[in-house]
Subunit: 294 residues, 2 copies
């Protein structure tokens, strides 16, 4: 059994990006610039955005944080988004979700110019992903693909079972893994809360992705000997063993499952650290015009 070390891989990628920024700087090019829009004072959102801004600094990107009161109107926010769309110095930007109830998240996301949608949430990017065109892929699926690539895990012809059909993870990942390309060509099954005989299906998986948000859902007897297991779950559970009084638990019962695996991602330190890095990579792609040529 080999651990897939997302923390180390994320660190490697940050170094690669930092080197690339350094080269851009030396050659007098424009430094990639990410903007983040934060509405209101949700604690978790503040933490996420702070981590994104910090990661930008670590690799040498420019970053801009736009903070607005949770009382701003939808029209005001849409206007700010339009300004970012037109700001030539901003390569990409994100609107941190959730938004206050009086603002439509779909409207906000669809207002973002797809060329600057480094979160990959705009329907144009999702649709382009589905038909195999260049697109910004959202952070978690992109991070998982990068781990599969760097650990040279074969996907072609293998049966990949994904538990969870969320718009953010399960659905886009199911598309990506079956595309006709190097990290694709898998036979893909999507399971979810309504699936019958779940364990009969998961036991067929050469690659099993758990993204259902139920801690410890995947038990040892649900996994085939030699499978690759990717655990996307990160639920806070109480713990006497940590100072904070809680710890992150994945969707996989690690102790039971790990011994049967060829590869497995731990929680924490597996998929999680890859997500911010995916956002940075998308920002670099936007700055270089690699998804949508200028």
């Amino acid at each position: 059994m080999q651990l897939i070390d997302g923390k180390k891989t994320a660190g490697d990628i940050k170094l690669e990006l930092a080197r690339e920024v350094e080269e851009i700087r030396k050659s007098g090019g424009r430094i990639p610039h990410l903007a983040a829009v934060l509405v209101g004072n949700d604690g978790a959102s503040e933490t996420y955005v702070a981590s994104k801004v910090k990661s930008c600094e670590q690799v040498g990107f420019k970053s801009t944080l736009l903070r607005f009161e949770d009382t701003v109107s939808e029209a005001f926010l849409l206007d700010q988004i339009e300004k970012l769309n037109n700001d030539k110095d901003i390569d990409g930007f994100i609107v941190q979700l959730p938004l206050p109830d009086h603002i439509s998240e779909h409207k906000a996301i669809e207002a973002i110019n797809p060329r600057k949608d480094v979160d990959g949430f705009h329907p144009v990017n999702i649709g382009r992903t589905l038909i195999g065109l260049p697109s910004f892929v959202s952070a978690t699926p992109a991070g998982i693909l990068e781990l599969i690539k760097r650990y040279r895990i074969e996907t072609s012809g293998r049966h990949c079972v994904i538990i969870g059909r969320s718009n953010l993870v399960g659905r886009p990942l199911s598309i990506l893994l079956s595309l006709k390309n190097k990290t694709g060509d898998a036979t893909v099954t999507v399971c979810h809360s309504r699936t019958q005989n779940m364990e009969k299906i998961t036991r067929q998986a050469d690659i099993l992705v758990a993204a259902i948000g139920r801690p410890g859902f995947v038990k040892g007897d649900m996994v085939k000997e030699g499978a690759v297991v990717i655990d996307v779950g990160t639920t806070r559970v109480k713990s006497d063993l940590t100072k904070s009084g809680f710890k992150l638990k994945g969707d996989v019962e690690f102790d039971e499952v790990a011994p049967k695996c060829s590869y497995i991602t731990p929680v924490p330190g597996g998929v999680g650290p890859m997500t911010v890095v995916s956002l940075l990579r998308n920002t670099m792609l936007a700055a270089k015009g690699e998804i949508y040529p200028v």
Copy 2:
């Protein structure tokens, strides 16, 4: 075994649409208006477009056919598309594919206003389908869903296996069948040319969709007793039995498979007749502003 009669169902839907048009006419409303753009003189394309225009007439829609020489420039075509986008009398329009080599099909499709994209090919519509938002769904997947609905075939919790990952059929259908709704909630597996042990997977299918374009690919021993089989294939094969010298053959070896099925679509007369009807339904939805409120 019960035959799923696509021809009859398509006829029923045309009658329903004709009645709806009649009511609109009586109440002094605007009659739905579909435009079709045809570039060049490809024989098959001419046949398809003629059939779409004829179907419009049958249900009482207005229709407009715009024909251009295959020598027109991409810029000219994009300009025509923009005119149709802005033409208030046109509810929806299609650009018949394929286009001549010197015109980018992606550019043409992305130039269509998603609100008028009744073919459902624009990335915005594909992306919205994936995240479960109202969208124009392309003709074949929409037609299959309609058959499933009208024949009251239960999808929830059942294992649906789709052979084929095309952008037009396999991929969008895989999304639609696993959405959280009445014609969804299925566990969905997408198989394709790189799938290993295909028959082991297809034999698990409660609902098997064959959309791979290989006549007679699905044999009797690949199908579970009692399965629902949807055959999307329509390949012309030579035949001594018809005047034209050819007949349409599906992806399913009908004689072997049918006796094992609870339901099966024949070829011809199954999925095929539903496609034009899906386009008419989308045009009606566009006219009523039901996907994108005005």
